[in-house]
């Protein structure tokens, strides 16, 4: 098992003929992901690497029955693309697009929840269940099938942690990037709940950063509901207040959203907090979490 994606996942790529969409469609196919169709308005009837392209999601759904969509369309059109997937009953929508205005996300967040859809992102690397499906842009070769669940607000920092896990013999059940924006569809708490209920996952790594209170809420949830060992890392201990650190959501407002209060909250919930992300394997070993080999 794994979370959210597996060998039953049938992927629709929105924005499949764009530079990123096309490149990552090929990468996902190469990994063995079932990419069944793509959508680019006005490009219906073409194909990308053998994947049929449709003008609308409605048509792609009717002809190819996807159960998941991944969105690469540019930021000004991302909100519309998400709505199109939701309106066509796709239950898992992964939005890679960076730069979606926060006022687009406010009504959308509630809209997807009201329709029972799971949205991942925006501004995220997507997710991978190693060995079965990759629905995202992460470099596949650093992952191994295994038992550690990884959830993160960041992209490359997740790769750093995954590579360090793999190097130490810890594979991953699933690795999910929830996105670096202030409002994202899936929170740490949602992902923790999925990992806690996934029998394949034996330990969880949570990678947070400054800004907002998602890590504090995660800490409360861990204390109350998570029985599996959790290791955490918070990026941005040296970040100055009031500055947006690359990610739209990574900002210390006044004195709230600091790394130190997040680290303290996680520690109080029994999470082992790393001082350096590449030490994740050593720390799991010190907690007596068994390796996957």
């Amino acid at each position: 098992m794994s979370i959210l994606v597996n060998d039953q996942t049938r992927v629709l790529v929105q924005g499949i003929t764009g530079r990123e969409g096309e490149f990552h469609t090929r990468q996902m196919l190469q990994y063995g992901t079932k990419v069944v169709s793509g959508v680019t308005p006005g490009r219906g009837g073409k194909d990308v690497a053998g994947v049929p392209v449709f003008d609308t999601v409605a048509e792609a759904v009717e002809k190819t029955r996807p159960n998941c969509s991944i969105i690469f369309v540019p930021a000004p059109f991302a909100a519309d693309a998400i709505r199109e997937s939701v309106a066509n009953q796709i239950s898992l929508v992964i939005t890679i697009t960076e730069g979606v205005p926060v006022h687009d996300m406010i009504p959308l967040y509630h809209y997807v929840r009201d329709h029972g859809v799971r949205l991942i992102g925006p501004n995220c690397p997507g997710l991978i269940s190693p060995g079965t499906a990759k629905v995202g842009i992460m470099p596949a070769h650093i992952h191994r099938p295994g038992s550690v669940g990884v959830v993160s607000r960041s992209g490359t920092l997740t790769y750093e942690v995954v590579a360090a896990l793999t190097a130490r013999g810890y594979g991953q059940s699933s690795a999910v990037g929830i996105g670096g924006d202030p409002i994202v569809g899936t929170s740490f708490v949602d992902a923790l709940e999925l990992f806690q209920n996934d029998p394949q996952t034996r330990a969880i790594v949570l990678i947070g950063e400054i800004g907002g209170d998602a890590e504090e809420l995660a800490a409360q949830f861990i204390k109350a509901h998570v029985t599996k060992p959790v290791v955490g890392f918070i990026a941005g201990r040296t970040a100055p207040p009031g500055r947006r650190m690359g990610h739209a959501g990574a900002i210390i407002s006044g004195s709230s959203g600091t790394a130190s209060e997040k680290m303290a909250a996680l520690r109080a919930a029994g999470v082992e907090v790393l001082d350096s992300p590449d030490r994740v394997g050593e720390v799991l070993a010190s907690m007596n979490v068994a390796r996957d080999e």
Binding site: A75, P76, G99, V100, P101, V102, H103, M105, I106, P107, Y109, H110, P125, I137, M138, P139, I142, S152, R153, S154, G155, T156, L157, T158, Y159, E160, A163, G180, P182, I183, I207, E209, I210, G212, D213, A214, L217, F233, A235, G236, R237, T238, A239, P240, R243, R244, M245, G246, H247, A248, G249, A250, S253, G254, S255, A259, S276, P277, D278, R279
Partner: protein
């Protein structure tokens, strides 16, 4: 993007919020002319993108145009928390009976716009949140239906305003939410919103932060950007498409990805040095952008050593290596030691390119951080000798 007080007030005025009359001046003579036009006592206020202007002496009352000129000549050119005052707002001085805080924010916890109101106006809301959180009212705005007048009435009556004032207050609250949403602002504050002795409501100060992600649909904001207030290196970076934030340390860093860039700064600190900057070259950066990043960092005289921390994914290690080599060629070699960490896609090709240029790449982040901290302190020693 942060707007100046006078810019934020203009948006509010257009939506019907009562704001005292006033104009912006860049010289003392202009300040006097505006005061003359207003024809009553004025307040001269420094326009800088930072808080604490009052305490720093950047806000002064003037009874006459001559006094306004004298006060403006003191405030213009003043340094407030590292911000040079280039403009002052000269505005009608209002009499104050009471001060209220009224703000609208994008609230991350409820994923909605939230109105924040406090009877303790005139002080920073964060200060109130710390000392007397029970005094702050928070009202969620429905994500589909928006603001409703009953919400304004509930707050207005809770503040103890009379029926006539409550009507005006409700209109102001509605205008605040509308201004926030239509301009893609993530924060908009009127602080203080005052009640005058004759019972009128007036917005005396305002703060507005625009969501950078939405700038593409507001071309009018580009003209409002105060480029002179930006750090010159940060401005160059923005024009190159690089996210750069200047800090005070000695170790420059070039990283792909915001989370990894923050983590790199943290690990530099962990090994005993201070980062000189945050820098994210973005996904899929080509060699030209890498070269631009390196030359940006080297233009900061405090930098004693540079760390490249690259985890290749969309960004390819060979592109980064080519960028480093070409930047060093065009700069005629590095004046400071450079440590390169490459991992991920096309790592071997990248290492080979660097090797040809006599640069050794390391493969772990901690190892790289240790090496760059040693290099920076060695270089600083040499500088002292």
């Amino acid at each position: 993007m942060n707007l100046h007080e006078y810019q934020a007030k203009e948006f509010l005025r257009r939506e019907g919020v009562p704001i005292p009359s006033g104009e912006v001046a860049s010289t003392p003579a202009e300040a006097a002319a505006i005061a003359q036009k207003i024809g009553r006592p004025v307040v001269v206020k420094a326009q800088v993108l930072t808080g604490g202007r009052g305490k720093a002496g950047g806000v002064k009352l003037a009874q006459t145009p001559a006094e306004a000129e004298a006060v403006a000549s003191k405030i213009l050119g003043m340094d407030i928390r590292g911000h040079l005052v280039r403009k002052v707002l000269v505005t009608d001085a209002a009499a104050i009976a009471r001060e209220i805080y009224l703000g609208a924010i994008v609230d991350r916890s409820t994923r909605s716009v939230v109105l924040m109101v406090s009877a303790e106006g005139g002080v920073e809301i964060e200060e109130v949140a710390r000392t007397a959180p029970e005094k702050i009212m928070r009202i969620s705005i429905d994500p589909y239906l928006g603001f409703s007048d009953y919400q304004g009435r509930e707050i207005g009556f809770a503040l103890g305003l009379d029926a006539r004032q409550v009507r005006v207050f409700s209109q102001i609250a509605r205008a605040l939410v509308n201004t926030l949403v239509t301009n893609d602002a993530s924060l908009l504050e009127i602080n203080p919103l005052v009640v005058t002795p004759s019972g009128e409501l007036l917005g005396l100060d305002a703060k507005m932060v625009i969501d950078d992600n939405a700038l593409y649909r507001h071309s009018e904001f580009e003209a409002l950007r105060d480029v002179e207030a930006e750090d010159p290196i940060e401005r160059r970076a923005r024009e190159e498409g690089i996210t750069y934030i200047k800090l005070d340390g000695t170790v420059g860093c070039v990283v792909n990805g915001a989370g990894l860039a923050m983590a790199t700064m943290d690990v530099i600190k962990l090994h005993g040095a201070e980062p000189a900057n945050f820098l994210d070259i973005g996904g899929g950066a080509r060699s030209e952008r890498v070269a631009a990043a390196l030359s940006l960092i080297l233009s900061d005289a405090k930098v004693k050593a540079v760390l490249f921390n690259i985890f290749g994914g969309i960004t390819r290690c060979d592109e980064v290596a080519r960028g480093i080599v070409s930047a060093l060629d065009s700069l005629g070699g590095a004046k400071v030691p450079i440590v390169v960490r490459l991992a991920g896609v096309n790592e071997a090709e990248g290492r080979e390119i660097l090797k040809q240029a006599n640069i050794v790449a390391v493969s772990s982040m901690s190892e790289a951080a240790q090496a760059v901290v040693v290099a920076a302190s060695g270089n600083a020693e040499e500088g002292r000798r």
